[in-house]
Amino acid sequence: MNDDTPRVLIVGAGPAGTRAAEALVAHGVAPIVVDEGARSGGQIYRRPPAGFTRPAAALYGFEARKAQAVHATLDGLRERIDYRPNTLIWNIEGGVAQALGPDGIERIRFDALILATGAMDRVIPFPGWTLPGVFTMGGSQVALKAQGCAIGDPVVFMGTGPLLYLVAYQYVHAGARVAAVLDTSHLSQAIPVFPGLLWGGRTFAKGLWYMTWLRAAGIPVRGGITPVAAEGQSALEAVRYRDRRGREHRIACTGLGIGYSVKSEVQLAELAGCEMAFDPLAQQWLPQADVDGRAIEGSVYLAGDGAGVAGADAAEVRGRLAALALLADKDIATDRASQARLRAKLRRIMRFRNALERALPVPFHLARTLPDETVICRCEAITAGDIREGRALAPAEMNRAKAFTRVGMGRCQGRVCGPAAAQILAAARGCAVEDVGRLRGQAPVKPLSIRAGAEAAVEDRSRAASI
């Protein structure tokens, strides 16, 4: 590689990061790929540890071939890229990413950055959700896919979004007892947007197929429900919900998977200087970029669900597009025709995603009316009442609320509680959610040991002293 080849850092080795790396290598640019996972694939195509034997068809179902292709691509690139698994990027500042890997802390300098940080479950708290036995939908899937385990016996799944029926299907298929699937959406809501859903015919058909399969297998599937509470002494024993007519039901279970689709992991994009804007559909502040994922020309590019959720197929396309945009900005010749094809493919997927989001609406309103005693921040046990009351109300702004109540101050940095806390604060003030702002991204984006933080600080100081 010659000296003017840009030094590119890709964060994330899921479908987006993998395809971005592949496109860069094809143009003679060997990136550094940093990934928190032990093996590439991201969350959606997560691989079990070495020594596990179930075939891809059992792990990924309809998506087995896509998953295997993504895995094989990164595996095939390993000799040509600087691939660093088990490594967290915890800060980005001025062309330097701070990493924490198996060998400790390290500063990684880069000329350009592709962030493929993915997504996590969107959570709406409800009474009892901190009990052992309650997991996210994605976490329930990880237990099965990566560890061969069910989260309980029997299990209930509750929420909405594409994962709900998929995970329930995978559980039943693997031999778990599923006591019910409880959906806050109702299929009748899908009808007005049905033309849009046809754009993603196969994906939508799969969703219906899972639902039909579950019903045929005798699993109770209920639409239009409202969560009431998870119950148990020291661990989960049952879940209570209200049906469409307002009648309350109780189902005994030792595992409960909850989730309302997924939300973007945006902290690193914010630290990297991306402009943030409120997305009304996702009810989330998202880093801004053009259609190719160009956020800051020549330096920061976004790909995959971290830049707004569009799913795994879109992530592969967006990874390629981000790499092509970066190459073009660095005056490296790329194939315009393939770029045009990728853009067209992405437009088709986005039309479907948009319809899907409207067909399976996230019941954000549920957060607004939670009882005062409901824990919202599970890190520090801060309740809905804490957020509504007292001094937190005077400044109707999330960072002030954080300072006064500590909501979003805990270990997860507001990843889990932030969206619900914003809904509660906005409702208490009678203003729009975007008007309460967003929790500012702070380094470290995930917990570091005091020792690692101190080592980083010492290294920074000695660097400053030597200049």
Partner: protein, 106 residues
């Protein structure tokens, strides 16, 4: 469901093994007590398959046993006997791993 699974559930087990059970066994220690686990288990899997909660929340005192299972929510940090802290959902067990029980200091 097998009878064995039923017994596990009634013993307070949170995770139930459905597949991949032919892996080699390892022993970990929780509050000094030996527990059976399998090579390739995360610590979260190993403890919850044994019906052991991971930790107590420092603020409300409630037992916690993880939530997101993918390194995002940070609700499964546990203390090892050597004083180091690890995230149970993203750390694989090793033979002889020694974990402090949540109530060890109370």
């Amino acid at each position: 469901m097998s009878q064995r699974t039923e017994q596990q559930a009634s013993a307070g087990c949170r995770l139930v093994r459905l597949a991949e059970t032919d892996r080699s066994g390892v022993t970990i220690f929780h509050g000094g007590k030996a527990l059976d686990a399998l090579a390739g288990d995360t610590l979260l899997t190993a403890l919850l398959c044994n019906g052991v909660a991971l930790r107590r929340n420092e603020f409300d005192g409630g037992l916690r046993s993880g939530f997101c299972n993918m390194g995002a929510c940070q609700d499964c940090w546990v203390l090892l006997e050597d004083g180091s802290r690890i995230r149970a959902c993203t750390t694989e067990v090793w033979d002889g791993m020694r974990v402090r029980a949540p109530d060890a200091n109370e």
